[in-house]
């Protein structure tokens, strides 16, 4: 019910206040009645029961993805250092 989906605006019909969005390759129409920000073609929106609910903040999305990448990199680095430390302690070395 509530599992809305991120979609990309492909075209806007400003007279009808509707848009065509791409949801992972599927194109469909959506109403822009609830959008309280300016939207342009290429923006990402959250689609729910035929309505664009809100614009997706690209900067925040990118920031989150960057933070995740950093966390993973840090863990991989810790694993690598742990492996080196282990091999240095290895009696058969």
């Amino acid at each position: 019910m509530c599992l809305s989906i991120p979609s990309k605006i492909k075209s806007i019909d400003s007279e009808m206040n509707t848009c065509i969005v791409d949801t992972m390759g599927v194109e469909r129409g959506a109403s822009l009645d609830l959008i309280d920000q300016d939207v342009v073609v290429g923006d990402y929106v959250l689609l729910h029961i035929g309505f664009a609910m809100n614009k997706i903040d690209e900067e925040d999305a990118m920031e989150s993805l960057k933070v995740y990448r950093e966390i993973i990199d840090k863990m991989e680095e810790e694993d690598r250092l742990a492996a080196i430390a282990e091999s240095e302690n290895c009696p058969n070395r």
Binding site: C2, I49, A61
Partner: protein
């Protein structure tokens, strides 16, 4: 990753297995410092679904527990209201329109699927605005929109009403069954009824709903950290969102903080979608709502304001709609599950007399209900 966002990042990036594992590791380390068990209620059924689908309980240490909340619009619908939909659909010249999730929910007389088998014209639409097309194509019929959902779907109903008023369409009516989240969260913490002492609830923290918050803003949860001393983190629906939000909650506990935070910043702000909120204020007033499994909760429901009575199917069809209350099934413990004092497998009819194909209680009704999620993905539990 390029510095430009692509649609697939919004899917894959927040479902990435390595990121989920990384958060599992962080949470495991942090949870050792907790010194106690914390019970996190995910209010929203969408989160329940994600938690079960991705086996998140399995990835978490033993001292982090989930309590599955009442946030599924279909699950919380009392039988009386489903009976109303059923009765309305069988009235002369009526086309009953609703959202797909409602099809198999049983009332005391049957589901809308059963009404259809009896010849009722029941239609499930992708968008509430589809009602306009149906109404124009069927000028001699009365199109009744059976509106369901939390703050997430309420503005869409408003948008339909606005279009109906503006375009002077005279054959669209509304049966409103919208409910609001903060009131039920409060009820779960501080109510007391003859059945359950909610003061003994185990809820230590809340995972705030994703898309309700897109509309309402995180401000609606402010009272929970401030007044009830329960931290809230508003989380997105993807598994990485849920893991990050849990990590944020655990950090609050170990740092002795109790705050309202937003994990789902790419869509949720403190103020939310103001246009949607204005539309809700324009058309709706707050009323008592009887929740399936939980009973009457004051001001937790929405109803059309009196000036829109000529669109209100409850007024127009008041002579045929049910007024008596119907008790929940005696063996069903959905109320206890929603209040966080029992788990689905604790129920004697779980998976036996009560299954998704023939649900007895609310939590088995839709795929977002706690019982349905346990039934489908329960083998992932440790």
């Amino acid at each position: 990753m390029n510095d430009e966002l692509e649609l697939k990042d919004l899917y894959d990036g927040f479902r990435d297995a390595d990121t989920i594992k990384a958060f599992a590791k962080i949470i495991e380390e942090d949870a050792k410092k907790l010194g106690k068990t914390i019970n996190i209620m995910e209010v929203c059924g969408g989160h329940t679904h994600t938690i079960m689908k991705y086996g998140i309980p399995q990835l978490l240490p033993d001292n982090i527990n989930f309590i599955h909340g009442p946030g599924c619009p279909v699950c919380i619908m009392p039988k009386e209201r489903i009976d109303s939909a059923y009765i309305l659909s069988l009235q002369e010249d009526v086309i009953l329109v609703t959202l797909g999730d409602m099809i198999k929910v049983p009332g005391s007389k049957g589901s809308l699927q059963d009404a259809r088998a009896k010849g009722a014209d029941v239609r499930f639409v992708y968008s509430p605005l589809d009602c306009i097309k149906i109404a124009k194509e069927n000028p001699s019929k009365k199109v009744i929109f059976f509106a369901i959902g939390f703050e997430t779907t309420t503005p869409m109903t408003c948008s339909l009403l606005e279009a109906v008023v503006k375009q002077e369409i005279n054959n669209v009516y509304f049966h409103i069954n919208h409910v609001t989240v903060p009131e039920v969260m409060k009820e779960l913490i501080d109510s007391r009824d003859e059945h359950v002492d909610s003061y003994n609830n185990r809820i230590d923290a809340f995972l705030g709903p994703s898309h309700v918050s897109v509309i309402s803003g995180s401000k609606i949860y402010e009272q929970f950290p401030e007044h009830y001393k329960r931290p809230v983190v508003v989380a997105g629906f993807e598994p990485v969102d849920v893991m990050q939000a849990i990590s944020m909650l655990v950090k609050q506990f170990i740092e002795n903080r109790c705050e309202l935070e937003i994990e789902y910043k790419r869509l949720v702000s403190y103020d939310g979608n103001k246009r949607a909120q204005e539309m809700m204020d324009k058309y709706f007033k707050k009323v008592m709502f009887k929740w399936r499994g939980l009973g009457n909760i004051p001001t937790s429901g929405l109803e059309l304001k009196d000036e829109y009575n000529k669109y209100n199917a409850k007024e127009i069809y008041k002579d045929v709609l049910p007024i008596e209350e119907i008790e929940d099934h005696k063996l069903c413990i959905c109320g206890d599950i929603l209040r966080g004092i029992a788990n689905p497998p604790d129920c004697t009819v779980f998976g036996t007399a009560c299954k998704p194909t023939k649900p007895i209680g609310s939590c088995m009704v839709s795929s977002e209900g706690a019982c349905a999620a346990y039934y489908k993905y329960g083998n992932l539990l440790k």
